[in-house]
Amino acid sequence: MSMLTSIKRALGIDTRQEDYTFTKDPRFGHIATARVAEKWVKTTCGYCSVGCGMLVGVKDGKAVAARGNPDHPVNLGKLCPKGLSEHHVLDAPGRATQPLLRKDGKLVPVSWDEALDVMVEKFTGIQAKYGREALGVVGTGQLLTEDTYTLGKLVQLGFGTRNNDGNTTLCMASAVSGYKLSFGSDGPPGSYADMQAADVILLIGANIADNHPILCHRLDRTNRKGEMKLIVVDPRVTKTAMMADIHLPVKPRSDIALINGIAHVLIRDGLVSHDYIAAHTDDYAEFATFVEQFTPKHVAAVTGLSEARIVEVAHLYGNAKAAFIGWTMGVNHSTQGAMTVAAINNLALITGHIGRGGAAPFSITGQCNAMGTRETGFTSSLPGYRKYENAEHREELARLWGIDVDRIPSARGMAYPDIIEGAVAGKIKALWFVATNPVVSFPNFSVLDQALRSVEFLVVQDGFHPTPTSDYAHLVLPAAIWGEKEGTYTNSERRVSKVNAIVTPPGEARPDFDIFLAIAERLGVRDELYPGWTTTADAFREWQRVSAGRMCDYSGFTWQQLEDEGGAQWGGERLYADGVFPTATGRAKLHCVPCLPFAEQPDGEYNFVLNTGRTVEHWHTRTKTANIEMLDTMVPQAWLEMNPVDAAQLKLKAHDRVTVVSRRSAVNNLELRITGIVAPGQVFMPFHFSETNSNLVTLGAFDPISREPNFKQCAVRVEKFSQTLI
């Protein structure tokens, strides 16, 4: 800035008028000139799994505006604040722009060649020394389906380790396992449209107003009041609970008792569909006997609800023409998550509220492409919802890939938490994290810390650096992010949508797909695993062949169709319309799900139950949203919610700084919010913030089936924060 300009600005002669002019955008009308684009790129939002269609405006090679795509059936042109500001992430500070290798304890820039040579040499060296399975890989639901598919082959067939999992295990693994338990396969049976067709919607542990805001208009509570009943089950009076016609403020982890209690009343009062049960389910007799003990009286004692309320809700569900059950992390983040999902499925099955318009047990998933990772798999299952233990499935894949069937493992490797514990135990010696930030997102940080320090070589591939995790890395690979890559995401309702590159990655950052191919090249498996591949389109085409004929069949649509038509749902609008399930008998299984108390109960010393969650302004561990000023300034730090009764007892005031202490560690310097939205005896904090990391205190307890952590309950005490104690 010239001296003259500085003087003119100081005197107010120059008011930067040129930066604040308005123009008529030919497509969107009067708007700040800075937001007028030369072209609009159709794409899909890269935050959550709602999968909103977007138009991102580009001018001079920079993304200048984000708009909801009015033609996209998911969001009809609407976006949440993260979506509306998503173009800023492409210009955000804090991006990883060059490969960094740790030399003499410091991360120094190196060339891609050196970085990948070292990586392959280290990984294969470690595998040669300790065995192939000494390598653990943790991917993510943030990648494209094409990326994930490519990564799965690279890890399982290229590196030859089964220890491949994703951060999706921290998120929706319980839904996957629960679906498999009941229906024989993963795959959410319903659609968003069902939320509009249902006359009863039961949301369990799902705060969609904060986490999936663009689903809320489907509930349309104001216009349809009286016709549609929204019932929200949540121990906390969330934004979503406040939208409900009936809020069931259950005690933490008493959801199974409630669900079984509803089943009990349904059976008792003859509100089950005996025809559906007889035709399409197994083990009803055992189930009916099992839920006999879940009388309203017993359930009332466990959940803290009134008997009348339980019966009322059961009757609403049972008498509904079409009833929809949606759930998210309140159910999944549990040591009994998979079984809770099975219990939910029981309700749908005994009433026949499945496979019809408006009727579905529906897992609202988390990340933009968690579903894509579920389908392409090679983590908890083989690609295309195939099973490791099924020889036919393995042979089919071997045929499709033209490889020896023995190279396809017949059992799953370690899940994410087992990989981390394996690293502590010395079984895992090398780790590769792709687009995930476990230092903030993984429970019980101290164990993770030990794992990250124990491995001989740690690679972190991410769009951002430094992140709390990349600080531990021996090698940091700078990756392209949403808006810099082309491929597909699949949303909660199985809708495959097109994702497009809007700008080029910064510096030397490369698309994950390119990184995977370059590694395969060095491993000598590129031609075998990825014959003739150059772009993600090649991966998509192979994935279409691999998924053809499977439940998650991608072969029916092209990229172009997906882009033009606002995506397409594999499996159509809903699954199981014919009542035939992919089990041995073709019938769904009813499970007897006991309600067990959560692992770490409060006691005299740790007298609060800590619940964790999210807020609408932030995404996951804030690597993105902390760098978008508009979002970060809305909620710049974490807080702890406490009931006024407890605050009075502890003599704490609003805005006091507090410390949350568990048996594992403590989170310091949290701002106290005194509010009636949490129950006495419970406290709540958001998990997004590395500065006040809730996972310092959370419990490392995992679901035995899904391996999902129990983020939602642990015992803590709350103290007034004192600077001197740090």
């Binding site: 600005r9 100081a10 005197l11 107010g12 002669i13 008011t15 930067r16 008028q17 604040y20 497509r27 969107f28 009308g29 009067h30 708007i31 700040a32 000139t33 800075a34 909801g68 009015p70 033609d71 059936p73 969001n75 009809l76 042109g77 609407k78 976006l79 949440c80 604040p81 509306l84 500001s85 449209a193 509009q196 107003a209 805001p213 663009i214 809320c216 208009h217 509930l219 349309d220 009076v237 934004k239 406040m242 809020h247 403020p249 609408v616 302004e617 000023e629 508009m630 300034t633 809305m634 710049p636 730090q637 807080w639 805005h655 701002e671 919010r673 509010t675 009636g676 939205i677 129950a679």
Partner: protein
């Protein structure tokens, strides 16, 4: 004015008109959506006595804050400036708790204080739409509108040096498009509707909501639909009281100019006017006025500030202090002219003047006129602060304080200046100048009286604030009770007492110094301890101490 939205929607050529769907939430049908029309902006033109307004449905809002982001994107504002803001209001006992959200832009009031207070007519109420429009070109960045608005709608953009605010997306609305916030809301909670102004003046209860200041001050036009619930909703940001901007330039400007007025007044009574004395007062006034100019975002356009003297107290202050400076300059020139020796400067006019028998009387008259302008300016300056949006300023104690501060400092200040001029007269380098030794006698009992009254005024103000029915009034006391403000408050009283005591023992210089410190501290506290009315914001608003 036509809103061609229906036509444009009907032919389906323009994608924007489909962005807000009238049947939002109903099953989506690709084939029919092109003919779906937004119902969120008025479909007919405005008639006589009507204007546009926002309707915000509290029961629909889910607190997603899309409107807030959409607004910033629409207007290309920096992230710290939010023309649309979200607030939280909460109440009840677990599990029967309610939390609702307020999403507010400008309320496009019928009696907008921003319009009335603006010294440069940067604000206009659009005669067609009723939208309160602000012109960045006309604005000089005085930020008086920021003080005046009971909802804190106008925001100062430091990068630009001017204020900006929500204009209901005037450019979009008049083109038949909904404002950005209306367009962004996924719940159709915000809409634009037509209000009959006369009817609204008679009954504006729908403008009231928990978490909003009373609508009566400005006649906000925003209509709110509130939940039908007996639960009392309250704002959640009340614990976030923070000191306001200190406005140091205004602290010094007001203090100095009051001191000069007071000094001139006492010098007149004590017959202590000398050319050098007046020159010093003039110099201090020049400094004070220049300091105040640099409190503006656009100092180069300070001169515009007198424009709206018919309705803005800020314009009147500038006008009176301008006249004060002018007449003080004339007094000074006159005083010099009376004593300039013919050896230095020969002119028939001077000779006539120096021999004019009524010259001294004329000077006295001129000086009294100057004092009059000073008092008028001081009162006008006090009236700037008498605004409903700032309860701890909006008290009779403010003009009392300004006048008493002038008297408190003035008595000793005149004497100290006299001592300084007498000392200057002894300097060798000034020996050629006609610098008479001034020997005016200043009684110091007025200082003691002014000091006691000053303290009484402040004590009564503090007591009244602590019993204020308005939260913001009591909150000022909470602020003053916090460290370090409490120490400053005590110190200002100690200095006031000290000034009186020192005057009594004739330690005049120290008394004057104490008076200055007392007034500067009190004025600093005046600015930082004000808690403006505002809409309820969120629990985590802004940064944290």
């Amino acid at each position: 004015m036509s809103l061609p939205l229906h036509e444009r929607a009907a032919d389906g050529s323009d994608p924007i008109v489909r962005m807000t769907l009238a049947d939002l939430g109903k099953p989506f049908d690709v084939k029919t959506s092109a003919t779906v029309v937004t119902s969120l902006i008025p479909a007919r033109a405005l008639e006589e006595d009507e204007q546009y307004r926002f309707h915000f449905d509290v029961t629909k809002c889910i607190g997603c804050r899309s409107c807030e982001v959409a607004c910033n994107e629409q207007n290309g504002n920096p992230s710290d400036i939010r023309w649309r803001r979200i607030g939280e209001i909460e109440g009840g006992v677990y599990p029967d708790v309610l939390r609702h959200y307020l999403s507010m832009g400008c309320n496009h009031c019928l009696d907008a204080e921003c319009v009335k207070g603006c010294p440069v007519e940067a604000y206009t109420k659009d005669p067609v739409t009723g939208i309160v429009l602000h012109s960045a070109d006309a604005c000089i960045g005085c930020q008086y509108c920021v003080w005046n608005c009971t909802y804190q709608v106008p925001q100062f953009n430091a990068e630009r040096g001017v204020v900006g605010k929500c204009d209901m997306c005037h450019g979009r609305l008049t083109a038949g498009l909904e404002p950005a916030c209306v367009n962004a809301c996924p719940e159709a909670a915000i809409e634009i509707e037509i209000v009959n102004k006369t009817a609204w003046r008679k009954n504006f209860t729908a403008a009231e909501s928990p978490g909003l200041p009373a609508a009566m001050h400005t006649l906000s036009t925003t209509r709110l639909t509130l939940p039908e619930s007996a639960t009392k909703l309250e704002r959640v940001d009340a614990g976030h009281i923070r000191p306001e901007h200190a406005h140091l330039s205004l602290v010094f400007m007001t203090t100095l100019i009051q001191a000069v007025t007071g000094g001139l007044f006492f010098a007149l009574i004590a017959h202590g006017l000398t050319p050098l004395f007046l020159t010093m007062l003039l110099g201090i006034t020049a400094i004070a006025l220049n300091i105040s100019v640099f409190h503006l975002g656009r100092p180069a356009y300070a001169w515009r500030a007198v424009k709206m003297w018919r309705r803005s107290w800020l314009s009147r202050e500038v006008l009176f202090f301008g006249h004060f400076f002018g007449s003080l300059a004339i007094c000074t020139a006159f005083a010099w002219a009376m004593v300039l020796p013919a050896t230095l400067y020969t002119s028939p006019f001077l000779r006539t003047l120096q021999t004019w028998p009524h010259a001294a009387l004329a000077l006295t008259c001129l000086a009294w006129i100057t004092v009059g302008f000073g008092c008028a300016g001081t009162i006008a300056s006090a009236f700037i602060y008498l605004i409903p949006a700032r309860p701890s300023w909006n008290m009779v104690h403010t003009p009392f304080d300004f006048l008493l501060s002038g008297l408190l400092i003035g008595g000793t200040f005149a004497f100290v200046l006299q001592m300084v001029t007498n000392w200057m007269a002894t300097l060798p380098m000034l020996q050629g100048w006609p610098l008479a030794h001034a020997g005016a006698v200043y009684p110091f009992w007025p200082v003691v009286v002014a000091g006691l009254l000053w303290m009484l005024n402040h004590v009564v103000r503090l007591v009244r604030l602590s019993r204020s029915p308005l939260f913001e009034g009591r909150a000022s006391i909470m602020l003053l009770n916090r460290s370090p403000l409490r120490a400053f408050l005590i110190a200002s009283f100690v200095f006031a007492l000290g000034s009186c005591a020192l005057a009594l023992v004739s330690s005049v210089t120290l008394s004057c110094l104490a008076a200055f410190l007392c007034v500067l501290l009190a004025r600093y506290l005046f600015f930082v301890s004000v808690v403006p009315l505002n809409m309820a914001l969120t629990f985590t608003r802004g940064g944290h101490a």
